[in-house]
């Protein structure tokens, strides 16, 4: 459902499971190696059978400026790019095709909310679930 150039925002509080969610998505996209938190490295790039998957983490950024956006360009160029803590990049980085919000539910449960302007994409994700 996702293709080169697509951006996925992944939001939620510290410890809610954002990196775990992105790892699941990377596995589904064919990334077989370790998918670890890019909090320190800021960005990880994975190549998998012709497809590039990027994993960005703006946790340490206070707000992305023009120069910073240029610095992050390689992570959006022809990739499917997952962005954790995307708020710091609002208006400066390519917009999300779909935004994922994770929340703690009862006990260990997680509520996963998806938002997108692409109604067909949401339908394609939701239909198999209902």
């Amino acid at each position: 459902m996702l293709g080169a150039g697509d951006v996925v925002h992944v939001s939620g509080e510290l410890g809610v499971g954002k990196t775990v969610f992105v790892r699941g998505a990377c596995r589904a996209l064919g990334v077989t190696g370790a998918v670890t938190s890019p909090t320190y490295t800021v960005g990880n790039l994975y190549r998998t059978g012709g497809m590039a998957v990027a994993h960005l983490d703006l946790y340490r950024s206070a707000g992305v400026t023009v120069e910073e956006a240029a610095d992050l360009e390689p992570y959006f160029d022809g990739t499917i790019c997952f962005v954790e803590w995307p708020d710091a990049g609002a208006g400066m980085l390519p917009p999300a095709r779909i935004a994922v919000e994770l929340r703690v539910g009862e006990g260990d449960a997680r509520l996963i909310e998806l938002r997108s302007n692409d109604a067909e994409l949401l339908k394609a994700i939701a239909d198999p679930l209902v």
């Binding site: 509080e13 510290l14 410890g15 809610v16 499971g17 990196t19 775990v20 790892r23 190696g33 370790a34 670890t36 938190s37 909090t39 320190y40 490295t41 800021v42 960005g43 990880n44 790039l45 994975y46 703006l58 946790y59 340490r60 950024s61 206070a62 707000g63 992305v64 400026t65 120069e67 910073e68 956006a69 240029a70 610095d71 992050l72 390689p74 992570y75």
Partner: protein, 327 residues
């Protein structure tokens, strides 16, 4: 002599070492103050600051070593893993210096660099050995059979150990990065007060996990808002240390290693050093540690790794590119 340059993450660093591993100068221009002003490490600020600092830092390293570029036989530089923009600053500077002087360039893997800190004078460690490499960005258990490289046998599946310290500190309201503050707070607390999970405990292999621990601290804070923070910090730190020591010790026993090395920024943590010293005594294994300033990112370790890495002869390195992720 070898000139080393390191710009993979937050530090702009340059060093001059001799061919036999004596550090003549190691300059690390910590960007912590700049980062604090911006509320964290801003990616481009890191990259742009590298650009501003790389030449002065190299000049300072040369001056401190009492040498000029005439004395430099090769230029070593970190080419990955790290933030691409930041790496490219160091790589471009190194290429330019090497090209202008007709010198070979030696591209170094940052993680090999952390291990190569062990090969510096005055007490170089001789392979074979097992090593735990734990920093803010990386946590790996590796087997080293010769100085040219390493074989990864385990690693974190999610957060690096240093990141676990820093994010725990954030959850405890200590600011970010706060690994060192968490250690100070933990010193006054009871490490047995809270039963935090040891990630991957009892599972086969040598992988580690810290994201569940982070979530456990989060739950504990929500469940007991009045809990003593020193106790929480001590219990949280104990869980990280326990996890690192258990998994690494299992690997030591399984591989029959007689020397264990602990490197990377987290190796500065006092509780961790004590726990490893204690376990290694019980196992009858020699523990190798490097000086604190060689644990955190620096360029002396990069120049050291270059001694065991194939150089690229002048001028074949101009197209050389940086890489973002360890493969």
């Amino acid at each position: 002599m070898i000139l080393g340059i390191e710009t993979s993450c937050d530090e702009t660093a340059a060093a001059v070492i001799t061919a036999d591993g004596v550090v003549r100068a190691s300059v690390v221009s910590s960007q912590a103050q700049l980062h604090a002003r911006y509320g964290g490490v801003v990616p481009e600020v890191a990259s742009r600051r590298h650009l501003e600092l790389v030449v002065p830092v190299v000049e300072e390293a040369l001056a401190e070593a009492g040498v000029t570029l005439d004395d430099i036989a090769s230029v070593a530089v970190t080419e990955g893993p790290g933030l691409i923009g930041a790496l490219l600053v160091g790589l471009s500077a190194a290429k330019a210096i090497a090209f202008a002087r007709g010198l070979p360039l030696i591209p170094v893997d940052h993680l090999h660099g952390h291990l190569a800190a062990l090969y510096l004078a005055p007490d170089p460690v001789e392979p074979p050995f097992l090593a735990l490499l734990a920093s803010g960005g990386h946590t790996l258990i590796v087997e080293v059979t010769d100085r040219r490289g390493y074989r990864v046998i385990g690693g974190t599946l999610d957060d690096a150990a240093g990141e676990a310290f820093d994010k725990g500190a954030r959850l405890l309201g200590l600011g970010y990065p706060g690994g060192a503050k968490l250690e100070r707070l933990a010193a006054g607390g009871d490490p047995g007060a809270h039963a935090f999970p040891t990630g991957m405990s009892g599972k086969p292999g040598y992988d580690l996990s810290f994201s569940g621990l982070k979530t456990a601290l989060r739950y504990a804070l929500a469940r007991e808002p009045d809990a003593d923070h020193a106790d929480l910090a001590a219990s949280y730190q104990a869980a990280i240390v326990r996890s690192l020591v258990e998994r690494t010790a299992t690997a030591v026993v399984d591989t029959g290693a007689t020397t264990l090395a602990v490197v990377g920024g987290v190796a500065r943590n006092g509780a961790l050093r004590e726990a490893f010293a204690d376990r290694c005594r019980k196992l009858g294994v020699h523990l190798a540690l490097v000086a604190p300033e060689l644990c955190t990112d620096n360029a002396a370790m990069i120049a050291s790794a270059a001694r065991y890495t194939d150089p690229i002869a002048f001028p074949g390195y101009l197209r050389r590119d940086a890489y973002a992720t360890a493969s």
